[in-house]
């Protein structure tokens, strides 16, 4: 049975545990001027991506390949009584039909003890559960055949919200009931004491809607058997942890019989951390037919079945003294992961972001007949930020403090959940430099217009629970006789620029020209182990291993040079393809001479990720600033400019750094203003099952006036490069900053997201009374 579920729950946490032990030999971050690190450079794989040469999984088209299509339950809750595939089997081009009764298809799924479901479970708990599948010569024929499968369903009553899920006699999703258990409570200090000490106590309820990942490349696998060996091309966030290991367990075959490849990946945001039923379905049908099978989910399927950011119903109570000192924070959150178990936790920032002695977080969840929650870019954090950062503004207003000053007042250099100092926190600089560059004071002081269009500015701070990276990662760095370098890593580049920063760091360490460094990645038969690209840990996890590998190559060549030239190693430097003496540049050997003298044609350094420093917490931070225009006649909100100040340790490539912040903030705007899953109360089915009705930001919503402030904290402690993760903190505070800007514009607070025009009009009407 696949345990990728457990993998998911684990991915947030290993780096929180603080591994310890001395590194093999200390390798410190560069302190002086760097040659390529930190520059604004185009990506090393840009040519492939713009020319069409890049082969994404969706682009894998093999000779003799069949196309799979999956029949999915159209009901929110139903029991499959019978499946008749006889007509489908006779349809043109159909080569295989698969149901739960097919040999080898009775596979438990979704973890749990006992497992919560099966590959094809007759008990369908949400709209979109897998019922049967077809493989045919064209996708058209496969869909024809899917439509010809006759299924008899017994429709069951369904639950979509907490109230109906927990009612006595409610339809049960699982034997254990609809609750995921007692509330999980985390306490620090005594909140009642904290509220008693406060001059101002406020309480507000906040709500955030279900947000769906919508990667532009839908979930897709191509599976090919050669005897008992299996090759899987898969659009995934991790060829090893997300696919190879769980698939080997699921199919009961050794790891070494499976090869997983994902050279280019069309987006994921957390939704591609699993094998996915479609992959196993493709593997089973490929075995039945002896032909490769491609299973690509339609856009509708991807909206229903492969994950979302769960909703959050948060009540936050906060106490503050007149001087701005926080005395207590108390958060309760109720959420639903949908039909199967998943984390819905949001509380971290309440416990961690600001200095506060008395905190309590209580969270619970219940099952509903809806698609499952998965990790989604900074799981829990944008939701928490929505509540916490709006509350911070509410408190600041009550005590007459500027929102930026109020946050600075409660700044902390110590991780309160771990009782450890951070290796670095640039939150203070994010706030101060961000505010200065944005023109915060001036914008706040600006007189409000009287017309129908109101302008406002807002800001929010945030952090990400992960972003440290930790072992294990292995990177292979290989230098050829002419000084050319190849980096090999199993890590994905999910769009963040992993390949580019890996090459940049190798080039820096080896004094090589960047264009002379090539990277091969994400192929379990060819590249060494890397963890999933998730948790903003690929940069800080992988890149120190790459540097270690490059450093080993350099050390070997310099040792050979010292021996050949009779000069001490400390006097030698490696530059492109030559080792030479600093004091006497005439003393030199080419890399080729050194290698040939030792009977080799290449030198390979295997770099492992060193452990993180003991007794330190490692996290990235951010402060985001937003200006909006609100049309009080229509309720429309336009984001006119934004600024993101992010601190993620050392910047390796300024171009990809900025791009991450732009993108994270863009998604944050969607979270605040547009994105929500709409379920029909009458049928339990999703109403906005397309990209016209499930709204994401477009080029018309993204402000052209968008700036990034990169804060470098000179962190020489977190790892040998000094970098932390960026992908997730880039989206955490944006939504709350938008909400705060709207409040600044119209004087009423939108606590329920997304803030649609209707919401604004209702709030304004309420205000008018």
């Amino acid at each position: 049975m696949s345990t990728y579920w457990e993998d998911y729950d684990g991915y947030l946490h290993p780096e929180m545990q603080g591994t310890t032990s001395a590194a093999a030999e200390e390798l410190r971050p560069w302190t002086g001027e760097t040659r390529v690190v930190g520059k604004a450079l185009p990506r090393v794989d840009a040519y492939e991506r713009v020319s069409g040469a890049a082969q994404y999984t969706a682009d894998v088209i093999l000779p003799d390949m069949l196309y799979a299509a999956i029949l999915r339950c159209p009901h929110a809750h139903a029991m499959v009584k019978s499946v008749d595939t006889s007509a489908a089997e006779k349809m043109p081009g159909v080569m295989a039909v698969l149901t739960g009764k097919s040999p080898g298809a009775d596979i438990p799924w979704y973890g749990g003890k006992p497992p919560q479901s099966k590959l094809f479970d007759p008990h369908c708990r949400y709209e979109g559960e897998e019922v049967a599948a077809v493989a045919a010569q064209t996708p058209y024929q496969a869909w024809d055949a899917v439509r010809a499968i006759k299924v008899e369903y017994e429709e069951l009553p369904f639950v979509l919200d907490e109230e109906s899920a927990l009612k006595a006699g409610a339809p049960k999703l699982h034997e254990s009931g609809n609750s995921l258990g007692d509330p999980r409570v985390t306490r620090r200090g005594d909140v009642e004491k904290g509220f008693a000490e406060a001059d101002v106590v406020l309480e507000e309820t906040f709500y955030t809607s279900v947000q769906i990942h919508v990667p532009m490349e839908s979930h897709v696998s191509v599976v090919k058997w050669d005897g008992d060996r299996l090759t899987v091309w898969k659009s995934t966030q991790g060829v090893y942890d997300a696919v190879l290991f769980p698939l080997a367990r699921t199919l009961g075959i050794p790891v070494n019989k499976i090869r997983v490849i994902c050279r280019y990946m069309g987006g994921a945001f957390g939704s591609k951390l699993e094998v996915g039923k479609h992959t196993v379905i493709a593997a089973l049908m490929a075995r039945m037919t002896g032909r490769p099978v491609k299973a690509m989910l339609s856009r509708e399927e991807s909206l229903l079945c492969v994950g979302n950011r769960p909703e959050a119903k948060m009540t936050l109570k906060a106490g503050v003294k007149k001087d701005g000192t926080l005395t207590a924070l108390q958060l309760t959150n109720v959420s639903t992961p949908g039909a199967y178990s998943a984390s819905t936790s949001v509380g971290f920032q309440v416990l961690e972001l600001y200095r506060c002695p008395n905190v309590m977080v209580s969270e619970r969840a219940f099952y509903t007949n809806a698609g499952r929650a998965r990790a989604f870019r900074a799981p829990g954090h944008p939701q928490c930020s929505w509540a916490l950062e709006q509350m911070m503004d509410m408190l600041a207003e009550k005590i007459g403090m500027d929102p930026v000053d109020f946050r600075l007042k409660n700044f902390t250099e110590v991780s309160q959940t771990r009782k450890l100092p951070y290796t670095s926190t640039g939150l203070r600089e994010c706030l101060i430099e961000g505010a200065a560059k944005f023109g915060w004071k001036e914008a706040r002081a600006r007189k409000k217009e009287d017309g129908p269009i109101r302008r406002g500015v807002g800001m929010a701070a945030g952090m990400w629970q992960g972003g440290a990276g930790s072992p294990p990662y292995t990177a292979e760095v290989r230098m050829f006789v002419d000084g050319g370098v190849t980096v090999k890593t199993g890590a994905m580049d999910i769009g963040t620029g992993t390949k580019t920063v890996a090459c940049v760091v190798a080039a820096e360490e080896l004094n090589a020209r960047l264009e002379n460094v090539r990277i091969v990645n994400a192929d379990t038969a060819a590249t060494p182990y890397a963890q999933n690209s998730a948790g903003s840990m690929t940069l800080p996890g992988l890149i120190p291993a790459v540097r270690r590998g490059a450093w080993l190559v350099k050390r070997q060549l310099i040792a050979w040079g010292a021996e050949a030239l009779g000069v001490p190693a400390e006097d030698l430097e490696l530059r492109e393809n030559t080792v030479s003496s600093r004091s006497d540049p005439a003393k030199k050997r080419t890399v080729e001479e050194l290698m040939r003298a030792h009977g080799v044609m290449d030198v390979i350094g295997i770099g492992n990720r060193d452990p993180n420093p003991a007794g330190r917490a490692i996290n990235p931070f951010a402060a985001h600033f937003v200006e909006v225009e609100v049309d009080t006649r229509t309720g429309e909100v336009r984001v006119v400019r934004m600024l993101g100040a992010n601190e993620s340790g050392r910047v390796i490539n300024r171009k990809t750094f900025d791009n991450q912040v732009f993108g994270g903030m863009g998604q944050g705007v969607g979270f605040a203003l547009l994105e929500k899953r709409v379920l029909d109360n009458q049928t339990g089915k999703m109403c906005n099952l397309n990209l016209h009705d499930y709204k994401m930001i477009t080029s018309l919503d993204a402000p052209a006036d968008h700036q990034v402030v990169a804060i470098d904290p000179n962190d020489y402690e977190c790892n040998n490069v000094g970098c932390k993760g960026l992908g997730e903190p880039a989206t955490v505070p944006t939504g709350a900053a938008v909400a705060n800007a709207i409040y600044d514009a119209i004087g009423v607070r939108p606590t329920h997201g997304p803030i649609e025009p209707r919401t604004i009009l209702e709030l304004l009407a309420e205000k008018r009374g």
Binding site: A46, P92, M216, F662, A704
Partner: protein, 212 residues
């Protein structure tokens, strides 16, 4: 909805509507086909699907004869039969723009265009912007401005910019935003895409200036 976006959702101006075509298809016999990169599936099995027809498509300046079912989209034919996978499949319902190609120089959604409708029109895909192994100016601008993250919507974005610049060589930022409004980028790399569109206009002007 902006004009550009709307027009992309529609069928090519001179094409046959889906409904009109389907009603006129007969069960005619089919000539031999030339399919580069196509799966070597027996033609008989494909024919059994529905009355397939031969269409002659002019793609990136080369005429190609293809055996297609009338319901097959240009997107499917270009990618899965001809192996031109620069054009991406994103939603197959005219919403995301990943499949944008130029038809007679204007950006169109290949997922909303039947292959049979595209006959007689000049089709340009991402591959058609290349000059041998050299990138075209819009592609080069996307590289220099880091105008993508995962890169999957990028071919569509590039084709949208190419189409925009062919009718408007000097677009304002608002015209750029409007011209790209039919192409979703979930990574939200819009800021860099705007920069790339402006840079592309400059590179194109420079190229044309140099050629004169």
């Amino acid at each position: 909805m902006p004009e550009d976006h709307e027009s992309k959702c529609c069928h090519p101006h001179h094409g046959i509507s889906r409904r009109g075509f389907l009603s006129s298809v007969g069960a005619g016999t089919v000539a031999a086909v030339s399919m580069r990169g196509a799966p070597p599936a027996p033609a008989q099995e494909i024919l059994a699907g529905a009355g397939a027809v031969t269409v002659s498509l002019r793609i990136n300046g080369t005429a190609r004869k293809v055996l297609v079912e009338p319901r097959w989209t240009l997107l499917y034919v270009v990618r899965d039969l001809l192996g031109l996978t620069g054009t991406k499949v994103g939603c197959e319902r005219g919403e995301c723009g990943a499949c944008t190609v130029l038809i007679d120089g204007r950006p169109r959604y290949a997922c909303m265009t039947l292959a049979v409708e595209a006959e007689g029109h000049e089709i340009t895909t991402l591959e058609g912007l290349m000059d041998g192994e050299k990138l075209g100016p819009v592609q080069q601008a996307f590289v220099e401005e880091d105008a993508f993250q995962c890169g999957y919507c990028t071919p569509g974005q590039i084709m949208a910019v190419e189409g925009l610049l062919r009718r408007n060589p000097n677009p304002t930022i608002e015209e750029i935003r409007k011209g790209l409004s039919g192409n979703l980028c979930r990574c939200s790399a819009y800021k860099h895409i705007f920069n790339a569109a402006a840079k592309a206009a400059e590179l194109k002007r420079r190229k044309e200036g140099g050629a004169q």
